[in-house]
Amino acid sequence: MSLIRKPLNRRSILRAGALGGSALAMPTIFTSRAWSAGYLNEPTGATVTLGFNVPQTGPYADEGADELRAYQLAVEHLNGEGDGGMLNTFSSKALKGNGILGKKVEYVTGDTQTKSDAARASAKSMIEKDGAIMITGGSSSGVAVAVQALCQEAGVIFMAGLTHSNDTTGKDKKANGFRHFFNSYMSGAALAPVLKNAYGDDRKAYHLTADYNWGYTTEQAVRESTESLGWETVETVKTPLAATDFSAYITPVLQSDADVLVLNHYGGNMVNSLTNAVQFGLRDKQVNGKNFEIIVPLYSRLMAKGAGENVKGIFGSTNWHWSLQDEGSKAFVQSFGQKYGFPPSQAAHTTYVQALLYADACERAGTFNPCGVVEALEGFEFDGLGNGKTLYRAEDHQCFKDVLVVKGKENPSSAFDLLEIVEVTPAAQVTYPPDHPQFAGGALGTCNPGA
């Protein structure tokens, strides 16, 4: 009797080879040690590892550095070091300063480079090699959507960093992903009434829009909001993301009938287009008997610094600003300022808050299991983290909170004092139904614990 029940032949060898090959080719993410536990990367020792995926190189490296500072501060506070920051003002009292669920918080970092593929690779490495239980950070919607999808597939929680496109919690939303930052729709909804008060309801707007996903959703949001006020959109022009000199796009504005220019640009694009627009004297121009105005829907203090004096008097919106006087903001600014010597940016704020919210959800759920965390975060209402009362809506995992309308300050008193808060728009005014057309498509799906 032969030990080989079926004789070896060419076909069986091929079949075995194919099976073996596909087993080897299968990403290790699906075959890692997590399979043996209840969920992916379940912490078994005295520590828990978080993955901070931020741009450490590339055009948003300064924003990434600020995010990393905030995460390091959050880790200190979670582990009971330092002054505790916003743990002292957070309405939930589940966190005790003894890590998360008694485990000391450790972290690994990845470099997104503000490129989707690089961001996915660094997130994957942190999940597979370092055993990160949660991934957070980033400074671009493209990156956020890509990493969110990866985390959903892998079975870890993704706490988004700075991402403003509607799609992150719209058509690309995922059950394992959560966004604290505001979005394009909210910017439009918050800005429109302020613009009406400042510039009236009879305006003609010309949009210059960065030619990628975030630009489109922001243009749509601002256009729809301002048109509902009675403004007319005379032209919308897409500008290449790689453009550095916008003069060729600015000069046609001079010859149009527009009396408002909306710059749907962020980062270096915003710095350059705004600088060019001011250089070409748009702000000194009179059209239709009105002063020509410029609007930058999404402001960031770090970007405002790059544009220098050109931001003076220009309206925009922001998620948070260090000059807010609520107890949470004051505690965070004090804590961050003492440690680093300057006030935090909105990117630092949102990432710090996301780290705390994740930790708190684990404590309340009593587990690191992503499905438990999702359940704890869905519909969670909280306060004391700098934006007033906030809701993590269950339907799309978007935070709903007050939005700030800001203006470039005329007489800044320091290098950080570039924006002044014009209005704190109440959350109710920027809230939309989950099935709003700007967020149509996609499905949240179900949570994936990765095991």
């Binding site: 490296a61 550095t244 010859q255 600088t275």
Partner: protein, 343 residues
């Protein structure tokens, strides 16, 4: 008509930058036969010379103002620039205000030194290597240089304004009897164009009317014969490399107020400048200048809303399209020597 005039004006300043960078690239290729992909980095370093001088002039001492508070509620630290303390507030402020034009003088020795170090320290070892090796090493050098700048200055753009006297725009339309505010052009861009014209004229005059320039031109035409005459042509070519670095650096210094300098700005210009060199004709100095302005203006036209509406995406490919056409129909470029780039 007014739209066309505006786009021509727009193309002039961009064309000036292309022309200045391409001029340096052509000088290096024409003399040393090296394809220098680090040339864009020299443009970027020039811009950061302006940033550095602006920061040096703004160096301040700190006094504590007990009456005011900082963001943490501590007494405010008031910074007063040393130049304002030394020369009085008005003169000091004027010196800081004029930091970009002053950076022209500041950058010349720095750029010459950077050029010399680059050529003597690295590039001379690649003279006899294939062009592919030269491209790889200079491209690597460009990345190293930009990472060094990012390490010291960060990744965000740094505003470096022109002197206040050049703020605002000239109303060309009103000058030509058209409606006001239709064709306006910033003063600093006019200054940039004039500055580029002066630099280009000076380089041509230097090569045309000095003995040094004559020897260099002879060396470009026939290197070995000039060597046989007992002239150390290598030394002169090294000087030309430094001169090319200075030209690129000056282009960067004056460009700083147009777009806030960032570590990546060299790469943004480099590829386009290479296309300019190819279109103008490898090794042809007048060709580089002519193609620089031509492509700058063409790029501006291609960005017009009407043109983009007709041919979507044309603004992003126009320069490369022209390069393809030129390479197919006239491989030596507009003003290239017969035989160069031709089989």
């Amino acid at each position: 008509m007014d739209a066309i005039l505006l786009q021509i004006l727009n193309g002039l300043d961009k064309g000036s930058a292309y022309a200045l960078i391409a001029l340096g690239l052509t000088l290096i290729f024409g003399t040393l036969g090296v394809v220098n992909f680090a040339h864009g980095a020299l443009f970027m370093i020039g811009a950061f010379c302006a940033v550095t001088l602006s920061r040096l002039l703004s160096l301040s001492f700190v006094t504590i103002d007990e009456t005011q508070k900082d963001f943490l509620g501590n007494p405010l630290k008031v910074e007063t620039p040393y130049v304002e303390a030394w020369f009085g507030p008005e003169t000091g402020a004027a010196i800081i205000d004029w930091s970009v034009p002053l950076a022209i003088l500041f950058s010349i020795p720095i750029m010459a030194l950077v050029g010399l170090l680059m050529e003597r320290g690295l590039i001379k070892y690649f003279y006899k290597r294939p062009h592919a090796d030269q491209i790889l090493v200079t491209f690597g050098l460009a990345i190293v240089l930009q990472e060094i700048i990012k390490y010291f200055f960060g990744a965000n753009p740094i505003p470096t304004p022109a002197p206040d006297v050049f703020a605002g725009s000239l109303d060309f339309g009103a000058m030509l009897g058209m409606d006001p505010n239709i064709i306006i052009y910033p003063y600093w861009r006019i200054v940039y164009f004039l500055f580029a014209a002066v630099i280009i004229g000076a380089v041509f005059a230097f090569l045309q009317f000095t003995t040094f320039g004559m020897v260099v031109r002879a060396g470009m035409a026939d290197r070995s014969t000039v060597g046989l005459l007992g002239i150390n042509i290598d030394k002169r070519f090294t000087v030309m490399f430094a001169l090319a670095a200075v030209v690129a650096g000056l282009a960067g210094v004056m460009y700083a107020p147009i777009n806030s300098p960032n570590y990546h700005m060299g790469m943004d210009f480099l590829v386009l400048s290479f296309v300019v060199v190819v279109v103008g004709g490898m090794g042809s100095l007048p060709g580089a200048v002519l193609a620089g302005f031509l492509l700058g203006i063409l790029e501006s036209f291609a960005s017009m809303a009407q043109v983009v509406a007709l041919l979507p995406g044309i603004n992003q490919i126009i320069i490369y399209l022209v390069a393809i056409v030129i390479l197919l129909t006239r491989p030596r470029g507009l003003m290239g020597r017969k035989g160069v780039m031709e089989s």
